[in-house]
């Protein structure tokens, strides 16, 4: 409760001075003049119990996303993890049954971004509720493309490599918008670490990973397609691990 007098003691015939009031009022009044900020909270006053405990959720939105919501940020991830080191068979490129593998001759294959769905159980997507701020994340992915071997056309005895210079690419989409991409990758088995970031509002978010790969057929001098395939690796894209994660830094 404020007071309406000064603590100054007065004897008879003493004068009241403005300083008596001002001095005592200053301490309170200054709080209204810009000093009522961080310094108002005593140092070392925040204990662990005062902090909001992270809230961890799993599969809240159907795609096996693990999330943690913290006071100022949230993290989310999902993983497609196979035992990709256990099934290597000599002479076989990449065909343990547990990898994600597509062949443009026999599977659905679009000449643009291809979804991993419905054939990848998890890891290619994460879903969560974002708060206004930034999304900063990454996709770590084992992507493999190889050249093959064909025999053909007008000279069946002659074989050559196929798809030696094909390229493939990984794209990262946030609610349908491309926010990160690997750039075109040449043949080989590569584990890519692709970062992305984008502003975000208070909204539901789906991060989805997609792939793109060139198709390539060899035409010989006579115009005939080399249809005899000795090694079909060039027709495939193989994914043996996907780790999609995201950090939502609140504004």
């Amino acid at each position: 409760m404020a007071r309406s007098y000064t603590k100054q003691c007065f004897d008879g015939v003493d004068q009241f001075k403005a300083d008596h009031f001002n001095l005592e009022a200053d301490g309170i009044a200054q709080q209204f003049n810009g000093q009522l900020d961080q310094n108002n909270m005593p140092l070392n006053s925040v204990e662990h119990d005062n902090m909001v405990v992270p809230v961890r959720t799993y599969n809240a939105h159907g795609v096996n996303t693990t999330s943690t919501y913290m006071p100022t940020q949230s993290y989310h991830f999902a993983t497609f993890n196979i035992a990709n080191d256990e099934n290597v068979v000599a002479g076989e490129m990449v065909n343990p049954v547990s990898v994600y593998s597509k062949d443009w001759d026999t599977d659905d294959w679009d000449p643009y971004w291809n979804s991993f769905q419905p054939d990848m159980p998890q890891g290619d997507r994460i879903r969560f509720n974002a708060k206004e701020g930034m999304l900063i994340g990454g996709v770590t992915i084992n992507m493999e493309n190889r050249s093959g071997r064909v025999r053909g056309g007008s000279d069946p005895a002659f074989t050559r490599n196929a798809g030696e210079f094909n390229t493939a690419e990984i794209g990262i989409f946030c609610n349908g918008f491309l926010v990160g991409r690997s750039g075109r990758m040449n043949n080989g088995a590569h584990c890519l670490d692709i970062p992305y970031s984008t502003p975000i509002g208070n909204e539901f978010v789906e991060i989805q990973v997609k792939w793109f790969k060139e198709q390539y057929n060899i035409i010989d001098a006579s115009g005939g397609t080399w249809t005899t395939v000795d090694v079909d690796h060039f027709r495939k894209i193989v994914i043996s691990g996907v780790h999609t994660w995201c950090r939502n830094q609140y504004r």
Binding site: T6, A29, Q38, V46, G91, E164, D230, G241
Partner: protein, 219 residues
Amino acid sequence: MSNQVVYKNQKAGQASNEGGSVDQFYNDLQTKSANIGQDNTRTEWASRYHFNWTSKPTLKYFKQRENTSGNNDYTSTSYVTVSHGNNGSTEQTFTRQEFGVGDVLRINFSFRTGTDNGYLSANKDTDYYWIELEALLDSGGAATWSPIGFPMRYSLGTHRATAGFDYPAAGYRMYSGTFIDIFGYTGGVAGIRARVKVENGTSGIEIEKWNMSVQLIGA
């Protein structure tokens, strides 16, 4: 200062608050301060100076090590720790950092391959190598090395068929892998390491400079 008390000359024999200016100031102050309590800090952020570090778990912990020179050929067909370099092994143990449910571990390993292709030409069909990241985790009991994420798979070449031409993938390629884990239990982390193995022991992978880092992020 806009809120200074306005002093008025008063008449002899009158009370010190005669004229109302002082009362008015204090009353105004009381009105305006009615909604200011201890919980109103008027700030969005608390700095780390406000935390009583001795009484709470780590909010954020960062550990990093890098090799800025030197290289090594790894030829083991079972996992061995990436340990070469001028700053020690990727395997490093440190003071156990406690984490709780919902805390995040983020780990990154980046490295550069050398130019040594080993015996790739004779082993085109066995040209895989793997990098696996591990953390020394416990849930209150004994700590064990546990994989984080999945084994990162690479190849020494572009062509895996026995017949045909291959192009080496080695030669100063820069690779990186980042994984996070969100713990569902209370425990601790006391170490990190990166391990490597090759499919064919005669086709080793030459690893040059590398960087290994881990962050533990809490509330």
